[in-house]
């Protein structure tokens, strides 16, 4: 099992560090380009949600992102001390609607659910745990 942890602050500029970090483990763990694309997207959507909506104060917070990889699966977990929010409960957008009726936003969590094979959430000791799993066995 390979493990790496990345700590980021609750600032949008940190997304750049996430991209660099992904390049790094992509090379180290020999992840495919399509998988890295998917991971990048999932990380951006999850982090953007936490940073933009997770904190009611103006203080600096640290968000922990844990990466684990075994032969069959890749796990990405987010831990933050923001307000309780369970993204798994968010209703999916109706993607069959006509252009005029489609909402401009609200695709982020939906994309995470569609791309990853498992999305789990728990609240423990005032922290949010968002645990994502992708099956990577060829």
């Amino acid at each position: 099992m390979k493990c790496r942890t990345l700590l980021v602050k609750n600032q949008m500029v940190e997304l750049n560090r996430v991209v660099d970090f992904l390049d790094e483990i992509g090379e180290e763990w020999e992840l495919s380009v399509p998988l890295l694309f998917s991971l990048n997207l999932v990380l951006e959507e999850a982090l953007t949600n936490i940073i933009l909506y997770g904190f009611e104060d103006q203080n600096e917070h640290t968000i922990e992102i844990d990466f684990k990889k075994d032969e069959d699966q890749l796990h990405v977990s987010f831990v933050d001390d923001g307000i309780a929010y369970d993204p798994t409960l968010k209703e999916d957008p109706d993607i069959s609607l006509s252009t005029e009726d489609r909402a401009n936003g609200g695709l982020g969590i939906f994309l995470i659910k569609k791309i990853m094979d498992q999305v789990q959430y728990k609240r423990k000791e005032n922290r949010n745990y968002l645990m994502l799993t992708k099956n990577i066995k060829v």
């Binding site: 500029v13 380009v33 694309f37 951006e44 953007t48 993607i95 489609r102 695709l107 982020g108 994309l111």
Partner: protein, 109 residues
């Protein structure tokens, strides 16, 4: 991200290169709104060098499409890389946008 706007008599060709994500989607939106407000009735967006998009970028695509539809204009996309096309499929965007395999086909309409 780099965006290039090329105006001709019949259409405006916009080429977007690199990543459209949360950090620069606002800039991309501004450029596209500028093209629309400039009176473009037909916009072709060349995505051949677009190698990453997130929901923030998708939002801009949808806004442009809505604006163009409201003014009876035409907005089409061409040269989507497979990874981008997959995100469009997942989001239901493939049925919203007119897409062409290459620039020549998009120009022909």
């Amino acid at each position: 991200m780099n965006v290039e706007v090329l105006k001709s008599e019949e259409y405006v060709l916009v080429s977007v290169e690199g990543r459209v994500d949360t950090t620069n989607a606002g800039e991309f939106e501004k450029t596209m709104m500028g093209v629309i407000e400039g009176g473009a009735t037909r916009i072709i967006l060349d995505c051949s060098a677009l190698n990453y998009i997130s929901s923030s970028g998708l939002r801009v695509f949808l806004i442009v499409q809505k604006k163009m539809m409201a003014t009876k204009g035409h907005f089409s996309l061409c040269n989507l890389q497979p990874g981008i096309k997959e995100i469009f499929d997942i989001s239901g965007f493939s049925s919203i946008f007119t897409m062409f395999p290459d620039k020549e086909a998009a120009i022909k309409g």
